[in-house]
Chain length 222, copies 2
Amino acid sequence: MKKAVILLSGGLDSTTCMAVAKAEGYELYPISFDYGQKHDRELALASKIAEHYSAAEHRVIKMQNIGGSALTDSDIEVPEYSEDGGVPVTYVPARNLLFLSYALGYAEVVGADAIFIGVSSVDYSGYPDCRPEFIDAFRKMVEVGTVAGLEGNPIEIVTPLIDLSKAETVKLGVKLGAPYEYTTSCYNGEEEACGVCDSCVLRLRGFQEAGIEDPIAYKKLT
Amino acid sequence: MKKAVILLSGGLDSTTCMAVAKAEGYELYPISFDYGQKHDRELALASKIAEHYSAAEHRVIKMQNIGGSALTDSDIEVPEYSEDGGVPVTYVPARNLLFLSYALGYAEVVGADAIFIGVSSVDYSGYPDCRPEFIDAFRKMVEVGTVAGLEGNPIEIVTPLIDLSKAETVKLGVKLGAPYEYTTSCYNGEEEACGVCDSCVLRLRGFQEAGIEDPIAYKKLT
């Protein structure tokens, strides 16, 4: 049975990746990160989702916080949604690179064929390490920097959502039966999602455009 | 003053990198890793070396061990030196990638201009992630996956030892006054270096070819 490592945050996108990998017949090895985010509610949800999909193993990596982001540094406030186009203060330096690097090490150890990551080039927050160019550069590194790569059989980096809008992701996940009721996308991480941070706004728009009701609760609906 | 993050293991190569970065006028931000290696003697030595060079800050990152290597997994024995050409069991999956990724995050946070890493394409252990192709792939990723990169000012990845044999590295370090008496290279990590593992053998050969006496003590000299 082919094996896949899935970057699982407990959010909408990564849960959709679990659903896609499951549908494609992979044995699932989700990996989640405790990187000093302000809340660990998303880790508890990630465990629930891993269990829902009968994952072979769910690895949680404790990562030391390097600082410099509103998501990990308690001195920086999480802002409300804006469309000013710059890199937001919620950007965590080298975060996706670290996530993918740990996933790659894990994939080498368990002998996985693929790593699934839920980045999208359509509806995204403007982080440089979510862009297709970044994923391509990482693929190149897997080819030249791993044992499997040198043997001509590099671990595949799969991005099933790369060309999908948030609405299309929602439709795909619902079609595959993804348990969205267990997910959270809110940067503030309380029991009820805030409904006003970047991440909540993108998610709510996605459900709205898909014509599907978001199963989770919100404090405030814009 | 320009700033450099230096990957500092407490070994010969990384200590030479500290010496080179210092000589080039950088303010020094060494970073070391506690990654479940079987000993932490090298971390204590790294601190000594950071202090010797009056580093602005020495960051030690505690990394969770992913397993699968003789250097981190107590079920796998560290082998003696051999020249069979394969990837040795001391290979740690994705290790240099993780090290460089953390260094990149740290460099973004402190606003560093460069990251120094002591890899060499001449005398090395056969790890895929020590090769120049890997470093080039990482550079490409820095260009497309970081804020500074997108602004046309990517953090530089400096490899001062890439074309040097171990003997040339030793000569360079001695010329720059590198405190080699504080370094260790042994995979077994006891008070006295074993003198027979890959890493000890490469180091001893380097000193011999350079015609310089290694200032550290060995249990056994081959």
